[in-house]
């Protein structure tokens, strides 16, 4: 049994014409969208109003059709009504021109049936005034509203009825539905669109206005790539009566089931601005994956090749309970901004980027700096970053080598004089080296592109703390063998010398030496010391210092990088890290989403502009090479430290 590619429902053999029944019924809901100049412009003679009469198979009439532009013209003397743009459940939209101001406008009239409720007029006025307050560059502006009286459209002899209308800003462009259908929407464009929608929504929500009907048909993009949200709050107007607010009581409600939040579907009265956030989530999902989330759906990164960090944003918006969603549209925007621009420093528990990724990018930067000197060293910032990376590298090296520092000293009494003997303990040294190794590995080896979520950093910090705690808590009880390095090690100087014997042996050995060798500090010559006398606190301090140095260097670099501005012009390789939104394993790119870029506009708006011409704000990507190089470099660095440490230990030991 195959499945419908669109909705995932089972395609049974009895499906009509082989098409999915659900999708067919759903398709019958979709109303024509506003602002489709390409579709209508090429068919100037087409009168949507006249079509249905020809197609009724059984020859009976249906409802009302929108009036023709000419029919409306008499009622709007100050407008030149040009053409019908579309009509749907709510009403009809026309393109018009305000003659006095000589500007294009959109005239939206509401279906008379929707307006039959006697309380409608009052609701309409209230709603229109609220909408007029929404003065925002990304919300379609309301210029005027009111009602006109027309003769009964249902036949002669009827009472005249009122036709309610809105006069709105005309958006020359296309709606999001059309862009999605034409396949012109890339993932970073989707981010930019969503970001703009969030701004607009936050503004409206602050004014106390909920859209209730966010869907791609209501999201318009003009030729400059600016988002404009239309039909704010109009869904409420279509209610026949407030008591009758059920799923099926409104024309509008039924048509947008897919984008409706669960609480709206249930007909709950407790619908607030978070319903818009849900609808936004649906739109976002659809933009990224091309499908509408239905039933049990997969996170977007599993359906399309996009960064899995976006999953969290999308899935949270789509939470069933409003409490679990983002509570403000602005939160979505900040989350998205964080993912795309590294210039955000991280306050208030926002996700910290991982130290490892930082290190990797720094190493990559260094490599590039070293190998592509002419190109890469043009800017101050890359040189600075390279320097910092080198410093980190050296300090890490030093930290690993700290195990070799004499951290044990023993005072040996000898005829009333005491000798201070410094040395290192082999096993403790190896353990410490391993700890450093693991920490370095931990820091360096986490792959790039990994989600820089807060919990990862918490885990890493926790593990580092555990490692340190382990070092502090685990007691070293090491078997000691005292080896006399002056004379050949005798069999008696083998293992498990009792504490009491240690000094005897020393003394004895000392006594047997001749040639009056003066007692001195033997650096690095003793390999084992009486464990009672190990100055363990030195060991721990050294270990702790080394770790702290390592970690703070990495973080310091990160903070330094966050503080400085991005240098992300296209074509200039930068070393800015972590803006990897697109498939991991790809090149690192700097995504800079500049939502408002009117300078890149298209000039005068042209009738029938194609979506491909639109300047949707895109990311500026930087070139980088040497993915494989830097990985190699990392491994080399890793093994160098390791080998060096072990080698030294072996030599000394």
């Amino acid at each position: 049994m195959t499945a419908c590619p669109r909705c995932g429902a089972e395609l049974t053999p009895d499906a009509p014409q082989g098409l999915c029944p659900r999708c067919l019924v759903q398709a019958s809901f979709d109303s024509d969208s506003v602002g489709e100049p390409t579709a209508i412009a090429e068919q100037p003679a087409e009168q949507p109003a006249a079509q249905p009469a020809a197609y009724s198979p059984v020859g009976r009439e249906i409802g009302t059709e929108p009036p023709t532009p000419a029919a409306l013209a008499t009622h709007f003397p100050h407008l030149e009504i040009q053409q019908l743009l579309g009509y749907g459940g709510m009403g009809a939209v026309y393109k018009a021109r305000q003659t006095k101001l000589d500007r294009p406008v959109a005239l939206k009239i509401i279906r008379p049936e929707s307006a039959e409720d006697p309380a409608f007029a009052e609701r309409f006025n209230r709603e229109a005034r609220m909408l007029a307050r929404l003065n925002h560059p990304q919300i379609v502006a309301i210029h005027d509203f009111g009602e006109v009286t027309i003769e009964d459209p249902r036949g002669a002899g009827g009472r005249p009825s009122k036709l309610y209308y809105f006069l709105m800003e005309y958006v020359d462009g296309a709606d999001l539905r059309k862009l999605m259908n034409d396949g012109h929407l890339r993932a970073e464009q989707a981010l930019a669109v969503i970001s703009q929608i969030c701004e607009a929504l936050q503004f409206a929500h602050n004014e106390g206005i909920v859209h209730r009907d966010i869907k791609p048909e209501n999201i318009l993009l003009d030729s400059y790539g600016r988002v404009k949200i239309a039909d704010f709050g109009l869904a409420k107007l279509a209610l026949r009566s407030d008591q009758d607010y059920t799923l099926t009581a409104t024309h509008q409600v039924v048509g947008t089931l897919r984008y409706m939040s669960p609480e709206q579907m249930a007909g709950s009265q407790a619908v607030d601005h978070r319903a818009d956030i849900y609808s936004l989530g649906v739109v976002f999902y659809e933009m990224l994956t091309g499908e509408v989330p239905m039933g049990q759906f997969e996170p977007p990164s599993k359906v399309a090749s996009i960064d899995d960090r976006l999953d969290e944003v999308v899935m949270r918006s789509l939470a069933r309970e409003p409490e679990r969603r983002f509570q403000q549209a602005g939160e979505i925007k900040s989350s998205l901004d964080l993912l795309s621009t590294p210039s955000h420093s991280t306050p208030r528990g926002e996700p910290h980027p991982g130290v490892s990724t930082v290190m990797e990018n720094q190493l990559a930067g260094v490599w590039r700096w070293m190998t592509e000197r002419p190109a890469a060293s043009n800017t101050h910032s890359s040189a600075l970053a390279a320097m910092l990376t080198l410093v980190t590298f050296l300090l890490s090296l030093a930290g690993c080598l700290l195990v070799l520092m004499p951290w044990v000293s023993v005072t040996i009494p000898d005829f009333g004089k005491s000798y201070v003997v410094l040395g290192s303990e082999r096993w403790a040294g190896i353990v410490a080296a391993w700890l450093f190794l693991c920490l370095s590995l931990f820091v360096v080896a986490i792959p790039r592109g990994h989600r820089l979520a807060l919990k990862w950093n918490v885990v890493k910090t926790g593990l580092a703390a555990l490692a340190l705690l382990f070092a502090f808590q685990f007691p070293y009880s090491v078997e000691m063998s005292f080896v006399n390095l002056r004379n050949t090690p005798s069999a008696s100087a083998a293992h498990s010398a009792t504490p009491g014997n240690t000094f005897d042996r020393i003394q004895r050995n000392r006594n047997t030496t001749s040639a009056g060798r003066r007692p001195d500090t033997y650096m690095g010559m003793l390999t084992s010391i009486d464990h009672r006398l190990i100055h363990t606190h030195w060991f721990y301090i050294v270990l702790g210092l080394g770790t702290a140095t390592l970690v703070s260097c990495g973080l310091g670099i990160r903070i330094a990088l966050n503080a400085k501005p991005d240098t992300g012009a296209a074509g200039q390789p930068t070393t800015s890290p972590t803006s990897n939104l697109w498939p991991p394993g790809g090149r690192p790119s700097t995504s800079q989403l500049k939502p408002h870029d009117p300078t890149s506009g298209m000039g005068s708006p042209v009738h029938g502009v194609h979506p491909g011409d639109m300047k949707i704000p895109t990311a500026a990507t930087s070139k980088s090479s040497g993915d494989g190089h830097y990985l190699l470099f990392t491994l080399v660095f890793f093994f160098l430290i390791f080998g060096f440490t072990v080698l030294v230990l072996l030599v000394v030991g």
């Binding site: 249906i62 409802g63 099926t248």
Partner: protein, 248 residues
Amino acid sequence: MSIDPSDAQSAVSQRPFATTQWSVVLAAAQHPEEDSRRALSQLCETYWYPLYAYVRGRVASVHEAQDLTQEFFSHLLQRRTIEKAQPDRGRFRSFLLTCLKNFLNNEWQKARRQKRGGSQRILSLDFDSAESRLRLEPYHDATPERLFERRWVLTVLNQVLEALRVQLVRDGKAAHFDQLKNCLTGEATSADYDRAAEALGITPAAAKQSTYRLKKQYRQLFRDEIARTLADQRDVDDEMGQMLKNLA
């Protein structure tokens, strides 16, 4: 289709009080006339399959089911059952199902007692195609009522698609229907349009245009078809919502 004002006026006024087939039937319930009788027969002829399938689910033998179906329709058409108070007369669909259930529970017994063998054939029902269609259906373990609703939706869809096809054939665009019907169900990809355009010998842009128009025609036909079976125009959206639920 010029924009003549008088034309526009008459176009608008061409829509008097909207009547549907079912509302005609209901209105004439008290005094069935030719028109209403014909309207009812037409409705029954379109939507008999879900009924028959329901009966087949309730009754053991195929032969008995066929007899029963025919009996039911003659009962419906002749005996003025419509004028009796029924709970949900707003929709033909639910009315039909309720009637059928009543008939199965009560009337069938009486009818069986009254006439044995050879029921009157009021409607010509193609039982063979219904049987083959039943065999196509996947196995369900839903209730008969749910199956009935589901089949109803499918019947509507078939009807609408057929009407659409007929329409296109009449316009000389039969090939358009075959190529573009897959694009009806929403977001078709550019590849789909390219394929269709190639098959039809037109540009992809023209294919998109045609699809757009096809969708509009389809939507209109769909709404019209739904409205046939409703007493009140304004329930169309509601009914459509119901249909979507019934498919779930």
